[in-house]
Symmetry: none
Subunit: 211 residues, 4 copies
DNA sequence: ATGTAACCGAGACGGTACGTCGGGTCTTATC
DNA sequence: GATAAGACCCGACGTACCGTCTCGGTTACAT
């Protein structure tokens, strides 16, 4: 979150305006909605935020970093996993929740763009991972733990294997929703979510069995 | 793959150099590998191809269209589905094949970028779909047909439902591979492919049953 | 004159617009009048000229070079030395002429500024010399030749000494007018010109004698 | 020389550091030598002086005022007119003295620059006049008084005419030296000084006669 | 053989955004 | 209340690409 390179702690000089950060991130999201990634310019963001361009560059290294932070805030606010009582219901819930996030124009246009840039920029990839991806993945871990508590899935004694399986499930869920939404450009509605969940739960049950 | 809007048919005047097309697409791929999407400039592509910028703009409307065509050629050449004898083997094959395509730097960096742009540009989305997505999807259809012929999957009498299922399977496969490769940034190796295939085949079998 | 680095002669590509040069120099003079040297910005000049900033930078290396050329044109147009019949009248004429040039706001504000910059930039000094200073100096040479032809001044057999004397007279005339106008900030009117000319002609006559 | 508007007298609070003034002016001169007028930045001056930018702006209104004061100090220290026994020797002395001042890089680069700015800023012109020009002019007045005392020049009964003549001589001397040094960019050496003095004294004698 | 229409390279054109820099102002904590 | 530090707003800088537009020249088909 927050700045790319937060000066570890300064003691002298005028402190950075906390409000500027907020205004910039808000302006970034607004500009993304209106203009999309390609037309987004930092000068315009600064103007919208009522802030000088210098202020913006003092806090973020560039467009990518700024947009990651701006979008990450949405993932913070809108991703949660209430216990819906069954593995199936939990998966459907998370699929629909993630899909609704991807239907927002600011995430649609920004997420793939920063992922594309991250293929050439390790620092950006780490930033995306910690700001966005890990937040999503924690839902998978939570969902699995609940399913195991309910007895819907077996406990996995080998931690390495457990991590691999969680990663796999995460890539399948997130990947399928992203691909459906952005590449196939079809809506993730209740029907699709039901079909996808049936397939996944079937696979999980068939593969790992019931305890 | 060539141009977006090939002039319907000319009869007189100097014909377009066929070699220029090839040189431009080659240069585009080379530049993508070296510079990535963000730093790719059409002027540079033209220089590399030994071609004037005008020539390039005469054939493609812009960066997006050019890159889609340049990358699509790779999908043409490298996607096929030899019959490996079983549904499981066919899926593993297609997963590994698609992953090896995504491991090329030119596809890594280009695919997500054009998808990101396509969220705001319907013409680009259609171009991507016809040039790239549909090529991949046809493999899914082929694989299912083979599995049905082998008796591994039931025939689906309702064509609408059949199409829905094919779309779902396609999004799951392609999405999982893309997400694993580009977002999670982990390799799609034999082990992962086996695990993923087991999950998917388990789901298919559990959901649609055996005939 | 003209461009700083005129490509010796190109044969291919679109030729440079001759009108752009003119429009830029006109706009530079207009902006100098309105804003003065300090507030003059190249972006504004480009806008006034209806020209892109790039076009301007393609032809001139910076503010200094541009302004030298813009001002030099005025020296071309407004410096001449009609034969007024006597050394005294010729000197008075050239003094008033030079003074009226320095009373234009564009020359007032620009000339000293570029001279100041030239103290740290040899290329700029050479440019100023060839574009402005040498034009003025030629008037001194012409005036002396006429005076010698009239018998008002002796012929100088030693060319080195003749050059030294011309330089001295030039520095005295130009320096006095510039200093009066810009440093003392007092007008060079007929009275001052008469007094100055009397002093100078007296000095010349006393020093070099009549033939 | 210090600030333009020295606060009339403060009684409370921390007193201004007297050393800061000196450090700032020294730093200004040093920066002028290294960077020239155009590249001189107030932030850099503050850093060199070990002083905050705020402190600098509390004492001077801007770059022009600061530089005028910094350079004026040099005119204070280095301009004087010892009695050399004759008008001719006094003039040669003042010419060489002024020239040696103009050969310092800090004066070369600064003087013309502030003069250029002063063409659009009356307050600056007055500041230059009182800080620099009047100091020089007083030498002319002193020299004339001595020459009159020696009987080399006649007394001028009309005070207005006397002032006009002093102004003229001043513009001729200062203008010629400045022009030779900065515009013609040739050195003012003993030979030039002799030639110039001969011309000027000849003119004075011829014009005003001996008493 | 000669038009002639469309191609080609080169490169200038009007633009837009970039990321940086300097100018002055302000807000802190410290002296 | 002056100071050092440094963030702030502002606006210009010079550069890089964009996509378009002349240029002078080159092909290759249709007379």
């Amino acid at each position: 979150m927050s700045s790319a390179a937060p000066p570890p702690a300064r003691r002298t000089g005028r402190p950075r305006s906390a409000e500027a950060d907020r205004a910039i991130l808000d302006a970034t999201r607004a500009a993304l909605v209106e203009l999309g990634w390609g037309k987004l310019t930092l000068g315009d963001v600064a103007t919208r935020a009522g802030v000088a361009k210098t202020t913006l560059y003092r806090r973020w290294a560039g467009k990518n970093e700024l947009v990651v932070d701006a979008v990450a805030a949405l993932f913070d606010e809108h991703l949660e996993l209430p216990d819906r009582g069954s593995l199936r219901a939990d998966i459907e819930g998370v699929v629909l929740q993630f899909a609704s996030l991807l239907e927002r124009p600011e995430t649609r246009t920004a997420l793939m763009a920063v992922v594309a840039e991250s293929t050439r920029d390790d620092a950006l990839r780490r930033r995306i991972r910690s700001a966005i991806v890990d937040r999503q993945k924690s839902l998978v871990l939570l969902g699995r733990a609940r399913a195991q508590a309910r007895g819907e899935l077996p406990h996995e004694p080998d931690p390495a294997s457990a991590a691999r399986n969680a990663d796999l499930i995460f890539d399948v869920i997130a990947g399928a929703v992203v691909h459906r939404t952005l590449v196939s450009a079809e809506p993730v509605d209740d029907e699709w979510a039901r079909g996808f969940t049936a397939l996944l739960v079937g696979g999980l049950t068939a593969t790992y069995g019931r305890p």
